[in-house]
Amino acid sequence: MRYLPHTEIERADMLARIGVDHVDELFADVPGHLLLKEPLDLPRRKSEQNVARALAKMAARNVPAGSVPFFVGAGAYKHHVPATVDHLVQRSEFLTSYTPYQPEISQGTLHYLFEFQTQVALLTGMDVANASMYDGSTGTAEAVLMAHRITKRRKAVLSGGLHPHYASVVRTQSELASDDVVTLSPDVEAREDLLAAIDGDTSCVVVQTPDVFGNLRDLTAVAEKCHAHGALLIAVFTEAVSLGLVKSPGAMGADIVVGEGQSIGNALNFGGPYVGLFATRQKYVRQMPGRLCGQTSDAEGRRGFVLTLSTREQHIRRDKATSNICTNSGLCALAFTIHMSLLGEAGLKRLARINHANAVKLADMLKSVKGVELLNGTFFNEFTLRLSGNAHEIVEKLAAQNILAGVPASRLLPGKGLDDLLIVANSEVNSDEDRAAFIAALKEVL
């Protein structure tokens, strides 16, 4: 077996040094009748070539985004990632190191985490950010728990524009912890009255912008009312690129900002691994979940970085920890940081403008299609259409023509009477040809 260095002679020598005749003597603590005497009835080892063949065959049965006109978003976005990013992420010393518990020999990881935290804080308009969460959805659930700790209240109000899967993760968690959740109705056109839902029992209000239907939301009034009632505003985003062009949640008064960082530096990966971004105000830092990297100096006075404030965490606080989270999303955070360093402010803003321009272009083209109505007053690179037919069926028909047209709202919100709604994303990867093909195919099936 190519990954196992020992020869049979070496194994025998080592057993002799240990003082046993057979390796099973080392398993003496296992109840004898439960120790498997024969190998399980499973396929035998395979060469590298044969494994590659088997997996390539499975991969070939999927339709990659890059191979077709592609307009799917709703929480994960296809962007071009420079080749440099993946090359650097695959550096042995990044890829195959552990959590930086030994800072003297982990400065590489700690240094980029410090850069990552700073980038996220700047991007969200907040004071501090952590070293990342699993993804945007679990980060949102953690933000709700954090708000409960700070306000000592247990009721979260979820906007009807919050990604339904995120809302579902919050509800699962809250049910288990016996916390209250109020979920407002699906809010396709950003008309809900969030202010009316805030009262003296409210711990936090969770609002996404751009929301799952693509609408931009001004959070200022919600923030004001939250603060007047001693509640916190949690702002969520799923498309990090939007922050290059849209007012930051911090500037609109958010107390915790949490979002999905996949769209910068990371591939679609069928849903994971992704990277949750998590930022807050300085005064709440000790209530934050997750790893934090901080600056300090070494015994010779040189600048260095360490994991810090770890008394919040499970390995010290155990059942009183702020969260049970142990890992961050290190490599995905690294990819985010490298891509963001390459973009810089100038590149990020231009990338965001291209995304918005492309979406505007597509929206304008859709005006010419009979049976299509654009529901958004505002949007960044994604919007919702009302179609004159069943969106799910239309998506399937277009998929059969190798066009991936978007996400039917009914897939995210089954049984809510939203069968005619289609959520369509459009980033810098979409060409004029892609858009033309989409419009032509849509005209045909409607």
């Binding site: 000790r286 770890s310 008394t311 010290i316 606080r317 009183k320």
Partner: protein, 125 residues
Amino acid sequence: MAQTRYTKDHEYIRVEGDVAVVGITDYAQKQLGDVVFVELPQAGANVAKGAQAAVVESVKAASEVYAPVSGEVVEVNSELESSPALVNEDAAGKGWFLKMRISNAGELSELMDETAYEAFVQSCG
């Protein structure tokens, strides 16, 4: 002279007229190592004897500080927020945690006096 009493969890309580000053002992701060943060209750809070009144954190540990007796917290040492090192430098003085108005003075007699506490520390090794 003020009367000082000690608990088995290494808190001290020093009665000064109407109020009593609560902190952790010098032995406790040495065991903890560098104190990096102290979480204090709100003034006005009522605490019962033996209930958690504060949390003291070193780099690698978080320890609960329990109320030596029952009473109302009348003041907390807000200087510890910016200077937690005071606990290490002067545990019995500037490193105090909180002042409380004792609701049942009888509870004090259940605590150790200085001689008994010194013997107790000896037995801790």
